[in-house]
Amino acid sequence: MTAAIRTPARAVRIALLGNPNTGKSTLFNRLTGLRQHIANYPGITVEKKVGAMELGGRKIELVDLPGTYSLAAASPDERVVMDSLGGRAGNASPDLIVCVVDATNIKRNLLLVSEAAELDIPMVVVLNQWDAAKRNGLRIDTTLLADRLGVPVVTTVAKRGDGLDDLKKAIVHSLGEPRHIPRILWPEFVDEARDIVLNGLAQCGVEATGPEALRMIFDTDSAFADRAGHKDRLPGILKAAREKIREHGMNPASVEPVLHYRHLEALLDGVISGDGMVARTRDSVDALLLNRFWGTLIFFGVMYVVFQSLYAWAGPMMDLIAAGTAWVQSLISPLLEGTPMIQSLISDGIIAGVGGVLVFLPQILLLFFFIALLEDTGYLARAAFLMDKLFGWCGLNGKSFVPLLSGFACAIPGVMAARTLEDPKARITTILMTPFMSCSARLPVYVLLIGAFVEPTHGPIVAGWTLFLMHFVGAAVAMPLAWIFNRCVMKIKTQPFILEMPDYRVPTLRNVVIRMWERGREFVIRAGTVILAFSVIIWALLYFPRSEEVAGQARASFIAAHQSEPGLADALEDPESPLSKKLDHRIEGAYIEQSYLGRFGKFAQPVFDPAGFDWKITVGVLSSFPAREVIIATMGIIYNLGADVDEESDDLRKILANEKWRDGPRAGQPVYTLPVVFALMVFFALCMQCGATVAVIARELSWSWAVGSFVTMTALAWGAAVVVYQIGSRL
């Protein structure tokens, strides 16, 4: 066990173990500061937070295990705590466990500790939130507790940094002189049940530890049993073991907590006294915040502020980043004048790509600022409580609200915010639903099309309502989809929605800043690189092959068409003249038509024909897959107006309104009829035209989820666009 510590070559591994809401992560931040990074545990979607610190001249690797109430595991995601402690599944067993215990709720917190004691790893127990325990009038005899547990017991207030030195001393001391918490003495029938399983597994040729065998017995739907395989024999073995427990009048599903709590009851006898006014402040604040009327009102007020910050307050910062990107482009571009290809790659591909990554940062940082505040104060749990019923029916839960709401501003921070959901199934569903919410990048498309085609014929009121309702197309499709998805696709077992209402606490700036920094860095490093790659790839598809011939032909046809204009030659000499600009736009248009993406658009047009899209719309749609807002600029280029148009552009609206089919069965008819316009808007509402979202989902879940959701949304968008067009054009 402890021999490994003496080999000085590797860092000492210490794991932080504890229930949710114990201040475990705050303690982790205190101990490691910014020397931490986030990885993923192999094969699952749980994040692994690892930090470095140095104690007594030793390098220490600190792992912040996911907060959990017990070692029971129904899903691979939950198995991670036990696997980390037991040195399974690519994890190395820790040399020491620091058990973080909420001092206001010692007995329940010690259940996990008592379970972990089975693994025979040295421990130190931290009674955190010591100030709250004292405030609540609890008197805890730590000397007696340390005596009973047989390991060092330290009191801390992690958010203020109190007791950290004691903790460090205790860690150093325990590394030199490891101490263990005495294991629970199982009654004979539990030992017998364990032996039944161990023997059974041995006959199947499966190797398992005693603690793992116990987990298989205690956890109905055990993820350890799932891993052991032998689906033909193992259920019979487990049934026999559970029967042994039932024979003694115990329910196998609750026998473990019952026995542990009995054990803890004896252990804690005389340790804690003076329990009293625990919940008084919490109660009176909850009376307001969870009130049917006031609570709901305050909830919407808080959410309004969060949403407003993403939707409006982030705007100036995002504009600043966009302006900065343009400034850098204007700075670098002239230096590369001689090599147009490199110039375009650096300027339109790389710099624009980096700008396209950084532009998400303000929203991510703002959202995580608010999430840290909401979580640390304890309000997030209340918000989830208030809203749970709205989401429960389709497999989401109350905590889905913040990610989904954020999705109306931008899916990127929304997807990342889904980390606040502990239940893996609800988290995955929430992540997959978030891109359906009508993000602000869809708005320009709606504004352009509604402004050009709905407002002139139907007036501003209908236009306003159309715009409003378009925002809910995605959500209206997503919720039933989530319901189907949860019943038919998701194979992960449902977890009960259990929400601990923590005491209200004052958040600390330090924690909030670390959270923001951690998420921002995560996004830029992990997702940013992928987004940048997308940006360069799509640049190349729109740029190549750039033959001089195309420009020559465009120029010749332009000059032929403008023969009659007086002073044509002079105007073309001056690059700033309106005619020159027009010619440039015409050449850009010709280039995009001849680019790989343009050719593909023409080639793929028949696919979009049932939705009424011509090749220009198809190219616009295809080019906006990396980022949907690009469609406006692409439309500008395709219709020879240049890339600088925006959704309010009258020129663009006029051109769209006058655009006619050149050939085919609809020759001479306008391209943009109302059915086409709505088909296009519905397509944008449902399609995941956002490389950044794909990259973030891949980062948060996996590439197969990311690709799956991309394909599903694209297919859904196409199908819905076809239905809208086909029905609309028959009305």
Binding site: S70, N251, L499
Partner: protein
């Protein structure tokens, strides 16, 4: 006259009589301390009627009624 915790609509002093299921969800509730003999009360109900918030030994835990139905309770004076 025992009821399940999910059937409770008022704030009464209650005692858990049994965990009437051996499913995984029952195991989780037990780990949180929902065990026979524990004193509980339904301290709050969400605006839409579900979930409910349960106070037990100074801690407050909210669960959906569907889960609370796994817990059998009786009223105590």
């Amino acid at each position: 006259m025992n009821k399940t915790l999910g059937e409770i609509h008022h704030d009464r002093a209650l005692e858990i009589v049994a965990i009437s299921s051996n499913c995984a969800r029952a195991g989780r509730l037990a780990a949180l301390g929902f065990l026979p003999g524990s004193r509980v009360r339904v301290s709050r109900i969400a605006p839409l009627g579900d979930p409910i918030s349960i106070e037990m030994a100074g801690q407050e835990i909210s669960v959906r009624r569907a889960e609370a139905d796994l817990i059998e309770v009786k009223e105590v004076a």
